[in-house]
Amino acid sequence: MSEADCPECGAGVDLHDDVEVGEILDCGTCGAELEVLAAEPPELDTAPELEEDWGE
């Protein structure tokens, strides 16, 4: 398990061992959608967000 900083809020984001470049995950703190740019050392960037329908 490695860790990288969330580019949005700065919190540490845990990455599982076989994390792959291009994988999308959300920051557990700020919820931002993050893309894995590099695996070793891990690097994250905010993913281009799909405008989500949010109900009203």
Binding site: D53, W54, G55, E56
Partner: protein, 347 residues
């Protein structure tokens, strides 16, 4: 002798579409011609709207549109601007409930929406909040019914500008609380009953598009935040403002009365006794009435303006009928006389 106009509704299965059908069915001057639906063509109107089971009408496909005097479009943003030429062909008067013709210029649509595909209609369209635009409505061919949260906010603030209590340079915070019908009939995950019940959800924490309308009409920019709360109908705006000069309750009563005393659909509620002392959305449910009021906070040099409407009525279908009544020269209040209920729960 009263004239009768034929009317059709595009988007008849939707929430505002259903409300338009209800109002038209009870209106002395209208006869419903068609209500369209793509997904439920041929089904009875009662299939979607249980309160209209008595109405002897089936949805027709929007492709089979027939000529009418007045065409109401109750479709999602973007639909009317695409189809406005066709609408124009079949109807003398078009009343659009979406945001498609509310703003004055294509530039505004670039800024707040995704641009506009029929900007040539923007100039002729008339915004339908009669408390603002009554004079421009008679004879209008294209009526743009205003946004629900814009309506509640504008109605609360307008007297303060009319009476020069606000000059336009002051900080204005509008904190709005709304019901789930604002999301329309096609809600997603966030609108499901288990998720949506009991919320105080900042659904448009900043940057709500209705800001554009409010700014266009009040001539000021304002800080706008919308919360979803647990009701189905209602838009309640609390506007916190900070007048440069001290103002008294008497000044406020004068200002609000001045602006609204001849308005058939605005009622002042500010203080007094009993359980209902300020504007309350559930007190106007099902009606075209806006309740408007205020309170002073001298310690903070603040004034709070409250207003409450039913988003399905004064905030959309009722406002549209009101505007149309004026446009056609009918009695302003025709078809809009329901008084609301008490007690009523979370309507």
């Amino acid at each position: 002798m009263s004239e009768t106009y034929t009317a059709s509704v595009i988007g008849g299965t939707g929430f505002t579409g259903g409300e338009l059908l209800r109002l038209l069915a009870g209106h002395p001057n209208f006869e419903i011609e068609q209500a369209t639906s793509r997904s439920k063509a041929n089904k009875t109107v009662g299939y979607s709207h249980p309160n209209l089971r008595e109405l002897d009408l089936r949805f027709s496909s929007p492709d089979d549109l027939e000529s009418v005097d007045v065409l109401f479009a109750a479709t999602p943003h973007g639909v009317s601007m695409e189809q406005i030429d066709e609408f124009d062909e079949v109807a003398d008067t078009i009343v659009d409930l979406s945001a498609d013709f509310r703003l004055n210029t294509a530039e505004q649509y670039e800024e707040w929406y995704d641009g506009h595909s029929a900007p040539e209609y923007l100039e002729e369209s008339v915004y339908a909040l009669p408390e603002l635009t009554r004079d421009q409505l008679p004879g209008a061919d294209l009526i743009a019914s205003g946004g629900c949260n814009a309506a509640s906010t504008i109605l609360g603030l307008k007297p303060l500008f009319d009476a020069d209590i606000l000059s336009g340079d002051e900080q204005i915070v509008a904190d709005v609380k709304v019901g789930s019908s604002e999301g329309g009939a096609g809600g997603g995950d966030a609108s499901s009953h288990p998720e949506r019940s009991g919320v105080v959800r900042p659904y448009a924490p900043t940057g709500h598009r209705h800001e554009a309308e409010i700014e266009q009409f009040l001539g000021v920019s304002l800080s706008f935040t919308v919360h979803a709360v647990d009701m189905t109908r209602g838009s309640s705006a609390t506007c916190h403002v900070f007048p440069g000069e001290p103002v008294s309750k008497g000044d406020l009563w004068s200002a609000y009365r001045e602006s609204y005393e001849d308005e058939p659909f605005v009622r002042l509620v500010a203080g007094g006794g009993g359980v209902y002392r300020y504007p309350e959305p559930k007190a106007v449910t099902g009606t075209n009435m806006a309740e408007v009021g205020f309170e002073l906070d001298p310690g903070n040099k603040r004034l709070v303006a409250f207003s409450a409407i039913d988003n399905m009525m004064k905030g959309s279908a009722g406002q549209a009928i009101h505007g149309t009544n004026i446009a056609l020269g009918l009695d302003e209040t025709a078809g809009l006389d329901f008084q609301g209920l008490h007690p009523v729960g979370a309507p």
